[in-house]
Symmetry: C2
Subunit: 238 residues, 2 copies
Amino acid sequence: MSTWNDVPYLSKHGMTKKTATAQRREDSLSRERIIEASIELLDSDGESGLTFRALSERLATGPGAIYWHVANKGELLAAACDAIVARAIDVHLVEATPEVTIRTLALSMFDAIDTHPWVGSALTRALGQLPVVRILERIGQQVQILDVPVEEQWATTSAILNYIFGAGGQNADNVQSAQTRGIDRSQFLKIVSAAWKQLDPDEYPFARSIAEKLRGHDDRADFLKGIDLILAGIGSAR
Amino acid sequence: MSTWNDVPYLSKHGMTKKTATAQRREDSLSRERIIEASIELLDSDGESGLTFRALSERLATGPGAIYWHVANKGELLAAACDAIVARAIDVHLVEATPEVTIRTLALSMFDAIDTHPWVGSALTRALGQLPVVRILERIGQQVQILDVPVEEQWATTSAILNYIFGAGGQNADNVQSAQTRGIDRSQFLKIVSAAWKQLDPDEYPFARSIAEKLRGHDDRADFLKGIDLILAGIGSAR
DNA sequence: ACCTGAACACCGTTCAAGT
DNA sequence: ACCTGAACACCGTTCAAGT
């Protein structure tokens, strides 16, 4: 009964389709406009670019006005994140195997995080958060179709989820690191690769051995490889 | 040549064994003392507890003094993170199969993140960072022993890494969420579970169906299940 | 009901000045 | 070489006051 309200991050915003859609004047403030402006800010200036001051300037109001629509910065970030995730997982294939659907969903999330690196960090948040539940649901349904025993459905689904979040976060950081230093991905990988080659041969033989391979690698392909490994693991149990 | 210095996060601190060990007086400031105090602060007060003011108070100095030993807050957090990781992966099994070693290493990381939740978020950083390379090296060596083809060693190793980071980060958030709200893990899961049960049956059938299972689940066991899935996937390719 | 913007209590970081 | 601590340029958030 009260449990629902006890979980603030599983907030009612966007949770049901029946949320009263604001029929406000185009030029007035609204939750949607604030979130949209936040996404723009986040995309152009990174996570540190989202500031109540910068946001209110962009929206031509005072910082206080935003607080009438949004509880705090955390909720703002979560909402922006959720908007991206909702779009990313809105992929529906007909007559596709669950494996293909999982691969497609995962790749779509990977791409979303790649173009919006801040989502990668924002996503690494609580289980109760709406975006996480959204993805969990989509993947979980496919896991069910794969005939994974009921007792293993949770662990299996969260394994896939965790992998997606981990890989997405890692990739997001690579993108951000490159951006911060004003270089592109291949230049960034080149630098990391060169640094690995200079590691102590006794302590870091493996890192040195793959340093060269790191340079030209295809992130999306490697990401999919991990998904396929998990999928193969699921399959081998049957 | 200059590449090394171009990668600041792969800093020389702790990278080699030859780092000049400070032979300072016990009561004076040092990088080690600062990092240790940071870890204490992080453990007791969470990520937001690490403040140059709080830290300097604990160390009985001014904020400026810390900057003589540490470049900035990011480096401080990375160093604290690295100290925990270095301890966590310092596990050496004799005559163990690579599978067992990987499981043990992964579990050790999981536990480290569980007791130091802030490590979970701090770890989701660039590929060039020392802690990431440390783990990569340990896991990668085992992947080599598993006879994974050279071209697939990188993707395989990073798949395991990404899973560990993803799961660790997720778990860290659960721990932090519970802590923030002053409840323990089982109470927290109970609340999330209850919330999931109230989701729209048409949109969230899977989340609803596993809500009950979520309550009593064993995080470590589920974490290992994911590792085993990947390991099984690796094995099935041979 | 919604917005304004000054004010509060913080931050990380710098730097002249000390020893 | 190492430390001090005031000062700077920011933050998120609040809240009396407006419309």
